[in-house]
Symmetry: C2
Subunit: 399 residues, 2 copies
């Protein structure tokens, strides 16, 4: 029975806390900490049947984190704060001798990089202390890495190509709103696209490659746009037979129109402008007028469909396998007061923690999800709320 | 020979100053004042052959204005500042006994009204002091009022309907920018549409009525949208035979797309929102990130075409007359360092001043342009840069 410290009380923090509290066979105590303690208290109040301690912490401040960890003595720190804060939390784990898990790779504030280099550089230090860090235990990255590992180990003899496809077929009914922090969302979407091809990254303009993909289970055709996403970096490193890797995401014409205009007028700028004697970052002011993503939970209907099409060789023949999950926004909100975007990230974080705490996944150093056995993870993920569908040997168009 | 005080050093202020300085037979001295004196100095430096004095003044502050007027002793104050400042400047003129001219009606900050009521209420005070105030001496309002008066007096026995049509067939090549103060532009465009029909105002949704109009002189067909514009209020009051009055403006699909998105996300709101402990009006912040309209001058190509189609009865038969001006952006910039949007407003302001100072237009009280003889005004307007075209008796579609 394990004690954990969860850092971050946004939409994902809410889901992780709910799901850990549901898994009473693994978790015996939870401390939930964030910059704003009242947000932690609000989440704790939603879960009266589990003792949740709350705390205030500045996740940019290593000494503050160290003090909190020493006081709470968790076996594992689950980091669901901002990606800018991964390294300070890893430093505090090293100093206090505690395992670490996160859902998104470290991102420096001043430039949109989405690279694992900074965190992989911690491998030796975690190994020397006998500690484990599990990186990217959300859905994408996270479950998509596990799906790829499953295809490579179980359904194919050799995996050659992957297409990771992330569809939000839901709608919040607002003219424009981002499903999570608009600042992170817009950084990601407006970054140049990269995909992996024959041993190298190929860069193309942001959102310049579009396909139509016919999603399963009645979702039907939607436009998908190729973009860079961080799990490709670790997958092509750890599964070197992958010759081509692409990541695709659905965006509605309406979303793209709004994004284009906001870029055109300068409202997505992250530098400061002078206004009435004050320095203001336009993107931060935009965030102040846009709907709070948290307010969309009760409004969002429809489903997400996130998965991997893996293509390769089985018994000497070319074969494709499509592995995906479908998640319903309204069902998520009913269960944990968050829509499916937060739910599909928070549940795999809880399951990743369960793998580490039960010893099913174990190692010393810094690891990505595909480096472990996918089957125990997926066997736990389904009853925790995210069942896996495998279509073994179908035909999908080349993307 | 007359001395004038010009208040406002934006695009229109630049044009008025240039044009008054060209009319050396009327103007002997110019003082140019604005909140930012360096903007006045920059304009003065463009006109080395005319003595222009510059000054700093806060046009919201009546005592400051009074001090400046007493010191400069002008015969006329030309107000080309913001429409929010019309009443303070009129108050200062009353106190100092000086005539007044402006190009746009007073607008209270907190609501988009575009009504003459506040300024017409000054009529008795100006009359009692033997002073004259000329309202709306720009292009529209201004020249469009004069064109309507000309149609009513010279080309028709009775004027029944007018369509005022304002086309900017030019392009600045920017993804999005307004041709004048974006705050005023967007307030005007997003306000409900009103038109005059059978003795009453009919309100419709903003930009909900679209037509295609085939503009003359090779400009060709463009989409025009019906909107409210202030000259209709004075025209239907002073020319009561007008049964129907509509105002139309061209907008590109691109402009409308940007406007729609900015409205959707709340960036065109004119109420205050809380941001980092400050109260900020989103539309004013948007103005701070949009290109300064002044910067578009050297980039803008193409022409404007602004005019009036007047329909009525002549010699017992139905007849139409179309009176318009065509103005070239690049030619304007070459002459006075401003594109045609500022030029078409600033030149009529200078000509209105000339009418008042030479006694061709004279009255005691507050007046609109259509209350005076249109012919001397148009005879001066053409050599000052805005020639008039009259198509007497053509056929245009009902709009």
């Amino acid at each position: 029975m394990s004690k954990v410290l969860i850092i971050g009380a946004g939409g994902v923090g809410r889901v992780v806390t709910h799901k850990c509290a549901q898994a009473k066979n693994v978790f015996s105590a939870i401390t939930l900490a964030s910059r704003t303690r009242s947000k932690c208290d609000a989440i704790a109040a939603e879960i009266p049947d589990f003792p949740i301690k709350t705390a205030q912490v500045d996740a940019d401040n290593v000494p503050e984190l160290v003090t909190l960890i020493k006081q709470e003595q968790p076996q594992l720190v689950l980091n669901v704060a901002l990606p800018y804060q991964d390294l300070t939390i890893m430093d505090a784990c090293l100093e206090t001798g505690v395992d670490y898990l996160d859902t998104a790779n470290y991102e420096p504030l001043e430039t949109a990089k989405f690279e694992y280099s900074w965190q992989w550089a911690y491998h030796d230090r975690f190994r020397e202390k006998g500690l484990m860090a599990l990186l990217g235990s959300g859905f994408d990255p996270g479950v998509t890495n596990v799906y790829t590992a499953l295809a490579a180990r179980k359904y194919l003899d050799e995996i050659h190509e992957i297409d990771i496809i992330d569809a939000n077929a839901g709608s919040h009914g607002q003219p424009f709103a981002t499903n999570f922090n608009p600042e992170i969302n817009i950084r990601e979407v407006t970054a140049p696209c990269r995909h992996w091809e024959n041993g190298d990254w190929v860069e193309t303009a942001p959102l310049s490659t579009r396909r139509s993909f016919d999603f399963p289970e009645g979702i039907g055709p939607m436009n998908i746009y190729r973009m860079y996403h961080e799990e490709m970096e670790s997958l092509v490193k750890h599964i070197p037979t992958i010759k081509k890797a692409q990541f695709w995401m659905t965006f509605s014409d309406n979303y793209l129109k709004h994004l284009e205009v906001l870029q055109n007028v300068g409202m997505t700028r992250i530098d400061e402008v002078e206004f009435q004697g004050q320095k203001i970052v336009p993107l931060q002011f935009l965030k102040a007028v846009l709907p709070d993503p948290g307010s969309l939970g009760p409004l969002t209907k429809g489903r997400t469909c996130i998965g991997v099409i893996a293509r390769g060789i089985k018994d000497g023949k070319r074969k494709q396998v499509y592995i995906y999950n479908i998640c319903d926004h309204e069902a998520c909100f009913k269960e944990v007061n968050s829509q499916a975007i937060s739910y599909t990230t928070g549940v795999p974080a809880a399951v990743g923690a369960m793998m580490m705490l039960t010893g099913k996944w174990r190692g010393e150093g810094v690891f990505n999800m595909e480096q472990f056995d996918p089957e125990p993870f997926l066997e736990t993920l389904a009853p925790m709320g995210l069942p896996t569908v495998v279509i073994d040997g179908g035909e999908w168009p080349e993307l």
